[in-house]
């Protein structure tokens, strides 16, 4: 295990923002810490970075306790939601920033080559002389990522790296980030409130709420077995009924007498095709993909069963 948090507690003015958090992250993997805003997930990231003192517990990296190691000696890199590029420096100088620090300085040509390589990696070759103020949000995040990777961090810390972007860009960039991290073999800790972002980028998942880590493990394990109803909802499951969590739209019309009985409320068109709305007493309204089947008339009694692909067991 590379990064290990053991019983980490952080308090602001005596009020704990993170309680007794324990996590493990093996080398080369990406861990997503998923939680709503104010849940303590950013505090967790800041504690790992060394920006917040620990009230209790330890953070170790490769077996070495990081207590007392200042931020700039940890060899981590930090990337924020809005990039936090240095506005007075060009894109190239932003990316070169860690390469020009004492101790890392190398030949000018080597620095330039490395910067070009990094900009190429994030798909921004030719942007070297632009100023951050002239870039779009997505471009800024790419530069921030290149800058963070420039110092070959032992651990990359990403604080909601894509949340400020619009949906289409976010989905595209999430895939890119995953590719870039895997290519670079970077160990990374990502903090986000967006479950799609977490799934797209991470190998492992930790669920945080009310200042505590409630569940952690590989994405597959956590996704298949949320610990409780709230965890399931955090993971994007829309319905929870008798021990099962079902994703929105993960239903089928049942041919036989199985499943839930409800009443057809007509067809809605959605971004992923037409859906039949079915009102089930006690559960609410479900969306059922029609998959080419004829729509039952409004008011008709229908039976639905969950699609096994969209079901998890608590």
């Amino acid at each position: 295990m590379t990064l290990v948090l053991d019983g980490v507690t952080v308090a602001y003015d005596g009020v704990p923002a993170l309680r007794d958090a324990s996590l493990e992250l093996p080398r080369g993997e990406v861990l997503a810490v998923l939680g709503p805003s104010g849940s303590g997930k950013s505090t967790l990231l800041r504690a790992v970075a060394g920006l917040e003192p620990l009230a209790a517990g330890t953070v170790t990296f490769d077996g070495a306790d990081l207590a007392g190691v200042p931020v700039h000696r940890r060899g981590f890199a930090l990337m924020f939601q809005d990039g936090q590029l240095f506005g007075h420096l060009s894109v190239a100088r932003n990316v070169a920033y860690p390469l020009r620090l004492p101790g890392r300085r190398r030949a000018r040509a080597a620095t330039r080559a490395r910067v070009a390589e990094l900009l190429e990696l994030v798909g921004l070759g030719g942007y070297a002389d632009r100023l951050p103020g002239t870039l779009s949000g997505g471009e800024r995040q790419r530069v921030a990522l290149a800058r963070a990777l420039a110092c070959d961090p032992r651990l990359l810390l990403l604080d909601e790296p894509l949340s400020a972007l619009d949906r289409g860009l976010r989905e595209r960039l999430a895939g890119d980030v995953r590719r870039i991290l895997v290519e670079a073999g970077t160990t990374a800790l990502l903090v986000t409130h967006d479950v799609d972002e977490a799934y797209a980028v991470a190998d492992r998942l930790a669920l945080v709420r009310d200042a505590a880590v409630v569940q952690s493990g590989t994405v597959a394990v956590v996704d298949a077995a949320p610990v409780d109803e709230r965890a399931a909802r955090q993971l994007g499951y829309a319905h929870v009924l008798d021990g099962r969590a079902v994703r929105r739209g993960a239903w089928r019309l049942a041919p036989g007498p199985d499943g839930l009985e409800g009443e057809s409320a007509g067809v809605v068109r959605t971004g992923v095709g037409p859906r039949l709305r079915v009102v089930v007493a006690g559960t609410g309204e479900l969306e059922v993909p029609l998959a080419g089947a004829p729509a039952p008339p409004v008011g008709a009694r229908v039976r639905v069963v969950p699609d096994p692909e969209g079901v998890a067991y608590l």
Binding site: A49, L51, P70, V71, H72, R73, R74, G75, F76, A77, L78, M79, F80, Q84, L85, F86, G87, H88, Y97, P98, L101, P102, G103, R104, A144, R147, A148, A150, C151, L157
Partner: protein, 554 residues
């Protein structure tokens, strides 16, 4: 409705209506007198005579004066920055017990009357003072020390305001990338504060190079700056020389103000979310040390002043204060001090409402988002124009008024509102600079939202602008009041002899080193300075209670 402009339709008439009054006032009571003063010197017989002016510049004494002004102001600026920057950091980024008190304390000298500071440094450095052994009394060192005393406050306010709202995460990102704290400071923090630091430096240099009361009380005739030299020359009726120096000063000031204007970004786009101060860490100790040094530097002269005011020949007494009530004790004292104080307060009340009225109009003119290029240019030119009183010598203004508005056909000399009006002009830049950042910070979409819901322009002002602006407005009023209470340069020319304000009384007492029996004029000056300082401090503490985030960039 196209574009992000304001919703009110006719724009030019509205702009003209808002700008008319301040423009008229500034033209009659500022441009006219200053222009007349310059003209009188440069073209004494009606036609331009540059030879006389050039001759003045060639004089040995003039060169000495210019050189002294330059280096004393430069050194003062440098020291104010060196002390002010760490203090700005400690007072606006750190949370520690007493921080609020220190912030208020550092603010006080900003509006402390120059004559009070002059008196305080005399008390500290002069005969029998705590630091008399330094031998600084009457030397340039005393003048520079007093300039720094004043202007550390400017640095702390201007830079501290910017620092307080600087997003900490850029620094954190740099630290995480491996930059040491010193490196983060040099490569991230200071560049981000560059605009604020440069504006502060320019403004401090401006204040230092046009300082009047301090230099006059501490330097006397020996160490004159351009400002005091103009004063002495007008007193000696060498008008060409005075006008020539005034011209040099005006040109320098305009150039510096243009520089500040260029530094300010065209449209404020910086995110100004205040960042919560954090606890003190080990690395902050040098900054805290510098802050304590600043605090000591501010407290010690004032303490020396109080002590000196309470002593007559080494014994504790209230004699100095009692003597202030008896005009017959000293020839320098025309009226009892209570009457001078009443004059001062009366003038300050009038000056305050005038400064607020003009300041609000100017701020509205300057902050409304311009729609076209032409309009933007006009608004920026007006902005610069209304800042002129910031740097143009109060002495030039005072003397100019004396030879223009105070004479027929206007003959306003005995008009009781003349002195307040002039003081309002002196305070105007401060008022505008307090209001503009706040008004500019209001998202114009709020006004659009209000208008789209059916609010009239007046109603929009009431529901959108007023709730945000009323505190800064009160604070600006406080600043104007304090500035007026302490104004000395222009007032010393214009106040009627039988109707002096408190600073004028102090100036007179300090300027005439006499002794009547046990009672020295200097001792009475200290006592009067204490009275004035108490008044101003009370006003400033009230202002600080309003917690206006910052004075904005001057």
């Amino acid at each position: 409705m196209a574009g992000p402009g304001r919703v009110v339709a006719p724009r030019w008439p509205a702009l003209a209506a808002l700008a008319a009054l301040p423009l008229a006032v500034l033209l009659v009571f500022f441009v006219l007198p200053v222009g007349a003063m310059l003209l009188r010197g440069l073209a004494p017989d009606g036609h331009l005579d540059l030879g006389a002016a050039l001759e003045v510049l060639g004089r040995d004494r003039t060169r000495r004066v210019l050189w002294f002004t330059l280096w004393s102001a430069g050194l003062g600026t440098l020291l104010a920055l060196l002390l002010g920057l760490p203090a700005a950091y400690a007072l606006h980024r750190l949370a520690f017990p007493g921080a609020a008190l220190l912030r208020a304390l550092v603010l006080v000298p900003f509006v402390l009357p120059t004559v009070v500071v002059g008196a305080a440094f005399r008390a500290l450095l002069g005969e029998g003072g705590w630091l008399a052994f330094l031998g600084w009394d009457g030397t340039p060192a005393a003048i520079v020390a007093a300039l720094v005393f004043f202007n550390v406050a400017v640095v702390v306010r201007v830079v501290g305001g910017a620092w307080a709202s600087l997003d900490r995460r850029a620094e954190e990102a740099a630290a995480a990338l491996g930059a040491s704290p010193a490196r983060v400071l040099a490569t991230v923090t200071l560049p981000a504060l560059r605009t604020a630091i440069t504006s502060a430096a320019v403004v401090v240099f401006l204040f230092c190079s046009t300082a009047f009361g301090v230099v006059l009380t501490l330097g006397g005739l020996r160490h004159a700056t351009v400002e005091t030299e103009i004063y002495l020359l007008t007193r000696a009726f060498d008008l060409p020389a005075a006008a020539c120096l005034a011209l040099v000063q005006v040109v320098t000031v305009v150039l510096l103000l243009l520089l500040v204007g260029r530094l300010r970004p065209a449209e404020e786009t910086v995110d100004r979310a205040p960042v919560a101060p954090r606890g003190v860490r080990r690395g902050d100790l040098p900054a805290l040390g510098a802050t304590l040094l600043v605090a000591a530097g501010l407290v010690v002269p004032m303490a020396a002043l109080v002590v000196a005011s309470l002593q007559v020949r080494g014994t504790w007494t209230l004699g100095n204060f009692r003597a202030l009530q008896q005009p017959d004790v000293s020839t320098a004292l025309v009226v009892p001090v209570t009457e001078a104080l009443r004059n001062s307060l009366q003038v300050a009340v009038d000056a305050t409402w005038m400064a607020l009225l003009l300041g609000v109009l100017v701020s509205l003119v300057v902050t409304r988002r311009a729609r076209g290029r032409g309009e933007r240019v006009v608004r920026r030119v007006l902005d610069g124009f209304f800042m002129l009183p910031l740097g143009v010598s109060a002495v030039v203004l005072g003397f100019g008024l004396l030879v223009t508005v105070a004479r027929p056909p206007l003959a306003l000399r005995d008009e009781p509102l003349l002195v307040p009006l002039v003081q309002a002009l002196v305070a105007l830049p401060l008022v505008v600079r307090t209001l503009v950042p706040v008004l500019a910070g209001i998202d114009d979409r709020q006004r659009q939202a209000a208008a789209s819901l059916g609010a009239s322009p007046a109603r929009t002002l009431l529901v959108v602008d007023l709730p945000v602006v009323w505190r800064p407005l009160l604070a600006a009023g406080g600043f104007a009041f304090a500035v007026s209470l302490g104004e000395f340069g222009a007032t010393s020319f214009l106040s009627r002899p039988d109707h002096p304000t408190l600073p004028v009384v102090i100036g007179r007492l300090l300027g005439s080193p006499g002794q009547v029996g046990e009672q020295s004029n200097a001792g009475m000056a200290m006592a009067a300075a204490v009275v004035l300082a108490v008044c101003v401090t009370v006003v400033m503490l009230l202002v600080e209670r309003l917690r206006v985030p910052s004075l904005g960039e001057v």
